[in-house]
Amino acid sequence: MNIPRFWRKINNRYNLMGTKCENCGQTYFPPRNICPNCRREGEIVEHSFEDEIGELITYTIIRSAAEDHEKETPYILGIIELEENTRLTSQIVNCEIEDVEIGMKLKPVFRKLGEQSKDGLLFYGVKFSPIGKEE
């Protein structure tokens, strides 16, 4: 991922800034510019998920990763529900592999997401931690 591609979504990636359709009330993360429920009748505004408690819907332990994440293996990847029907894919940290379970409550934490060694670029963003183990 190059700098402009990462940077243009930095508010979304750093602050869990998603969107909300004011017409139907559905929230979106990752952010959407069109509400699939309302399409052109929809009214999309920004909506922050920064203070949400998430719930783990499913998970896996990644043992073999693509080049840019190979150094981090093994790591826990999960789908986290922030609000009803608003879910995202991210990593679970501060949690032993044998302790992860569906249904666990999670809080967003700011972490390094990866690096691009060729340019020495570091990418940051949100991963999730079991509640009470954020630091």
Binding site: R5, T58, S64, A66
Partner: protein
């Protein structure tokens, strides 16, 4: 709309073909299909080619022109189109060829699928395949393709009580079928213990739950049904064709264990063919990972949602079962050259309907092909039949 017939099929050996180039692989399959149909180059009106990522695998775009050129069709200015929908590229190409003939615009259409995957290192191929997911919101956070299907698998286990043994049984069955397929990449039997104890890739999935990196190509020749007997005494008809979309990311689906695109494509295809799931005698489904075959048999309607694992366990999907699934060995054991898979499925089903599938022949009048792109963002379903649709 005209009825459409398959009058020729061709397929290469699947595997790690270090000595064969992209264009050689494709030509091998294409020439077999033309010879099988008895069609000459001058007769070809149009070509469609399913290919996921020649741009990343061999740094070659514009492969439609390359193939037309090296097939000797460019002198006749035959139009050639590359079609892409990740691992469903082949299924999409088949549908484009079908629509082209059904519409009456073209008479003789060659449809092929090809992927040359072994010219890059395996970590690179993992990264290239991850491009079928949402790069910015899945892959960037560390999702891999096996990882996405592992997320589905764990949810399926949690929600329906599907067992690790049931999931592993898919790989055991498909390897067994591939022992009778001389074109398959892996022609060896395996056991459930071997699957469960293999190198972990993304828990609960291991290397033996995963389809391999494969070079290969397949091709079919399509003509209007009314002309089929000019070419063959044994035509097979495409009586139903469906294609549908779902969200590109699995996190955006209301039910992570259901691939809505499969359900929708199947309904479209069943309706067009005037059939339902109970009419299907044999199916090639998209088992890129073992769990994917369980999702497929559920979402195609062969069993109730959540009962796919049990259906596998009971042996219903084995070669001598009531509904043989993946007689070729599937993506798991026959191999998965991503752009070629959708066409390979049509070749396999055609061979069974013609009674030319050799040792693994099943009794069948109606067969189904199910091809999935990515984690289900795209799916195609085709129904093939010995009898013309009336």
């Amino acid at each position: 709309m005209k009825d459409v017939a398959v009058v020729g099929v061709g397929i290469t050996e699947f595997g790690e073909k270090w000595n064969s180039s992209f264009r050689e692989i494709f030509l091998n399959a294409g020439i077999q299909a033309l010879e099988d149909a008895g069609v000459k180059g001058e007769d070809i009106d149009e070509a469609y080619i399913g290919n996921m990522s020649a741009g990343r695998f061999i740094a070659q775009e514009h492969v439609s022109a390359l193939i037309a050129d090296y097939a000797g069709l460019s002198e006749m200015n035959v139009p050639a189109t590359r079609v892409e929908a990740a691992c469903a590229s082949g299924g999409l190409a088949l549908r484009q060829g079908f629509l082209s003939v059904a519409s009456g615009v073209q008479d003789t259409v060659v449809v092929g699928g090809v992927e040359k995957m072994t010219d890059v290192q395996s970590e690179q191929s993992v990264e290239i395949l991850a491009a079928a997911s949402d790069r910015e919101w899945e892959a960037f956070y560390g999702a891999t393709f096996p990882g996405l299907y592992a997320l589905i698998a764990n949810r399926h286990i949690h929600k329906y009580g599907t067992t690790r043994d049931q999931i592993a049984q898919v790989a055991v069955k498909n390897h067994y079928n591939a022992t009778m397929n001389p074109k398959a990449q892996f022609q060896n039997k395996i056991t459930k213990e071997m699957v469960k104890n293999a190198t972990k890739v993304a828990d609960p999935l291991t290397l033996f739950d995963s389809s391999p990196i494969t070079d290969g190509a397949a091709a079919v020749v399509l003509v209007p049904a009314e002309k089929a007997h000019q070419y063959t005494d044994n035509p097979v008809y495409i009586t139903g064709s469906g294609q549908a979309s779902d969200t590109i990311s699995i996190h955006d689906r209301n039910d992570i264990t259901t691939i809505e695109s499969t359900k929708a494509a199947a309904q479209t295809a069943y309706k067009m063919a005037n059939k339902d799931q109970s009419d299907i005698d044999v199916a090639e489904v998209h088992d890129c990972f073992t769990i994917a075959e369980i999702l497929a048999i559920e979402d195609l309607g062969f069993c109730e949602k959540g009962k796919g694992g049990k259906m596998v366990e009971e042996g219903i999907t084995e070669l001598d079962g009531k509904l043989p699934i993946n007689p070729s060995g599937g993506l798991k054991a026959c191999g998965h050259p991503v752009g070629a898979t959708g066409i390979k499925q049509a070749v396999e089903i055609t061979n069974h309907l013609r009674g030319e599938a050799g040792e693994r022949q099943v009794e069948a009048d109606v067969g189904l092909c199910h091809n999935v792109g990515g984690s289900g963002g795209t799916a195609t379903v085709h129904i093939l039949s010995r009898e013309e649709q009336k």
